[in-house]
């Protein structure tokens, strides 16, 4: 894991002091709320329905046990005993007092954390594959590059007042777990014909009101040129991105309006001029950063562990959890453990302070002190010996952290919705809770198989509903909360945007409607091997429409 040197520590400490001054000016009345707003937003501090909300960066989703314990402390001392993990792998506290926020930042700085650029029209927290460094299908670890991007983007003098927010994701694996095609820039480490590794660069993806998948900008970028290439993209966007309409200001609109090939050509032209300048990455720095991510000292173990196999045979619940939540590790005898933050009836992504402390202890005991946060709002213990899985499971289960539902219909991504957010049109959390109760029987989950269900409380799409196999979008209909359903989305290698199934559903209708969709799939799929999204791609929307709204002849045209 990266450790701050004196320079990183200085920058974060000076930021705490700067923000302390800004808060003091606000509290003394020297700054109006309007003047304070852009300053606090640059530090992840929002004013929500009931209180301020502080969003803390978890760069590329990597936490140590020490950092997680600090978050637990903050949750207890300054919030109401819990935190909420987001799709940007950040954590949000929904109840801090303004005058205490500088103290929270000071606590964070002590464990090398901050809330820099978790909001505002700047480069946001960079995300990466949550299994980085542990995944069996990895070409190279993306974390060193994510750290290089974090430093380059921190307080960037040229790119801190962009047309709109800017999100970068990096993966180094064959299977895209970082959703690179729905990011402003998506980077994938690939190998060229000469056997060298570099970046495949995607640009112009994003969700929100106008969801668009990224286009390929460059097939192979030598790694030493990463920062100059990012600079060229950002400069092109900063100069040419629209600023007249907030809803058309993301880079995706510029890329679409310019045309992908032409945009790439403009970036190349700019890049040619700067690629050998001071942004050219010195090998010494690349090596320095990589040293922090050297593999931990694994034990030499057999791939098959007898204790684990025996426990699996003996305990059906454990076997079910291991099948659903445990993933193959690149090192023999180790496993990657997904910790579901989606218990039956829970709020997706919420973790209590006690659970955080427990996870920190479990990471120390079983996972070489490491924890990851995923953009699916779950957590990961990345390096667990197979022989420890049963003991770990027992502890997780006792803390309600062992729901065996990873990648199933109850593993719901949800934004905070109208319960907290000023932008929302409808509540998301209660819908997620009711769905997770409705689909709580593990046998039922098994039967349905892989299914990604995402909920957003408004068109800004923080819950990524467009890329859910099933997406739910909260809309306002004459002051009533309604829910529009989309089918067929994906954020993986088969990236696709969901299509609207028809007229939206009331609060009372939404769970039965999802149930009808599932029953339709189960009754008609070509066997268990055909996933929900594959079935949808084969047969299209009609069977679902008919089941939901009746035969086409009897149906009124849908309002949407």
């Amino acid at each position: 894991m990266y450790r701050y040197d004196e320079f990183d520590a200085t920058i974060v400490q000076e930021r705490v002091q700067q923000f302390r001054g800004q808060v003091a000016r606000r509290l003394a009345g020297e700054l109006t709320e309007d003047e304070f707003r852009p300053l606090r937003l640059k530090n992840g501090l929002y004013l929500q329905l009931h209180a301020y909300m502080l969003r803390i960066a978890i760069p590329y989703g990597v936490l140590s046990s020490k950092k997680l314990r600090k978050l637990a402390y903050i949750a207890r001392r300054y919030d109401r005993g819990f935190g909420h993990f987001t799709t940007r792998t950040n954590i949000q506290f929904h109840w801090p007092q303004l005058n205490e926020v500088p103290d929270i930042l000071q606590h964070l700085a002590e464990v090398e954390m901050h809330s820099i650029q978790t909001s505002g029209n700047c480069i946001r927290n960079v995300t990466a594959d949550q299994f980085a460094g542990a995944a069996a299908d990895e070409i190279e670890d993306p974390r060193p590059w994510a750290e290089i991007v974090r430093q380059w983007s921190t307080f960037h003098p040229e790119f801190s007042y962009l047309p709109r927010k800017f999100k970068i994701a990096i993966t180094g694996a064959a299977d895209d777990r970082a959703a690179i095609r729905v990011h402003d820039i998506g980077l994938r480490i690939v190998q060229n014909e000469a056997g060298e590794t570099g970046f495949e660069v995607w640009v112009g993806g994003g969700l929100g009101r106008i969801p668009i998948l990224a286009v390929l900008c460059r097939r192979f970028l030598p790694k030493e040129h990463l920062l100059s290439y990012l600079d060229a993209i950002l400069r092109t966007y900063n100069l040419l991105g629209r600023r007249d309409n907030i809803h058309k200001a993301r880079i995706k609109i510029l890329v679409q309006a310019t045309g992908g090939e032409k945009f790439a050509a403009m970036v190349e032209e700019e890049w040619e001029k700067i690629k050998d300048g001071p942004l050219h990455l010195p090998q010494a720095e690349v090596e320095r950063i990589h040293r922090y991510f050297a593999p931990p000292s694994y034990e030499t173990l057999a791939e098959i562990d007898a204790e684990f196999e025996a426990a699996r045979l003996e305990h059906r619940d454990f076997a079910r959890w291991a099948r659903a939540n445990v993933v193959k590790h690149r090192i023999a005898g180790y496993a990657i453990v997904n910790v579901s933050l989606k218990p039956e009836g829970g709020t997706p992504g919420d973790v209590s302070a006690d659970q955080m402390d427990l996870l920190a202890d479990l990471a120390d005991r079983f996972s070489l002190n490491e924890i990851r946060v995923t953009h699916h709002q779950n957590m990961v213990l990345p390096h667990v010996r197979k022989r420890d899985l049963y003991a770990l499971w027992q502890q997780l289960k006792a803390a309600k952290l062992a729901t065996p539902n990873l990648g199933f219909i109850s593993d719901i991504i949800s934004c905070p919705g109208l319960d907290y957010c000023t932008l929302a049109n409808a509540r998301s959390i209660p819908v997620a809770q009711r769905l997770s109760r409705h689909f709580s029987d593990p046998r039922k989950l098994d039967e349905i198989g892989e299914l990604r269900l995402n909920i957003s409380g408004c068109i800004n799409a923080c819950g990524h509903h467009h890329v859910g196999h099933i997406g739910i979008l909260g809309v306002d209909k004459h002051g009533q909360e309604f829910y529009q359903v989309t089918l067929g989305g994906s954020s993986k290698d088969d990236a696709a945007l969901g299509k609207i199934v028809g007229a939206s559903f009331s609060e009372d209708e939404i769970v039965p409607a999802i149930d009808t969709i599932i029953q339709t799939y189960l009754a008609n799929r070509a066997g268990r091997g055909e996933r929900f999204v594959d079935y949808y791609r084969r047969v299209g929307m009609d069977p679902f429409k008919e089941a939901l709204y009746g035969p086409a002849t009897a149906r009124r045209p849908a309002a949407e």
Binding site: I11, Q17, Q151, R235, G277
Partner: protein, 184 residues
């Protein structure tokens, strides 16, 4: 208008002449890019200094042929959220090797002043009566910075790898004397 230049309040000797007004024979003035391009010959032969005011949707590269002779280029910040001129400044300094004064005007927050200096802007115009202490204090809030920019400040990368600073590939960023003098 108050003028903050090189970290101090200084008198402003320049004024902008609108396109529909006559350019006086005397006095330092700036004109629009359009006018500069249309009446360049006459403007270049003025005895008094003449600069250009660049709108933030105009390309800085339009001044490529004149960058070496212009004493002043003004950059516009119509709203503090509109950051196009940060990139214009970098292009003028790093690509065109512009050595004259770069001046920002418009809606400028104190918290942007430091970024401006990093991008090669060496003066900002502030409304009369606006307290300037905060702007000056903002220049000193940070003592380390990651990105190489147009101000010649030593970056974190160069401090981490001192040997590398001298051997880095390609040209060092072009820094005007005034900016270099301004670097803290």
């Amino acid at each position: 208008m108050a003028l903050l230049r090189h970290g101090a309040l200084q008198p402003n000797d320049w004024r902008f002449v609108a396109d529909d007004a006559a350019v006086p024979d005397d006095g330092a003035v700036t004109v629009s890019l359009n006018r500069w391009q249309a009446e360049g010959e006459a403007l270049r032969s003025r005895a008094a200094p003449t600069g250009v005011r660049l709108k933030n949707d105009e390309t800085a590269l339009a001044l490529a042929a004149d960058a070496h002779r212009l004493p002043l280029i003004e950059l516009e910040f119509p709203k503090f959220t509109d950051g196009r001129a940060f990139s214009q400044a970098r292009i003028l300094r790093d690509k065109l090797g512009y050595q004259g004064e770069l001046r920002a005007f418009g809606n400028i927050l104190r918290d942007q002043y430091f970024y401006m200096t990093r991008c090669g802007i060496d003066a900002v115009e502030l409304p009369d009566g606006k307290p300037t202490e905060g702007y000056l204090a903002a220049l000193k809030e940070f003592s380390a910075w990651y990105q190489p920019a147009s101000d010649g400040r030593t970056t974190v990368l160069e401090l981490r790898h001192p040997a590398n600073a001298n051997t880095r590939r390609g040209a060092a960023p072009l820094v005007s004397e005034s900016v270099a003098a301004h670097a803290l």
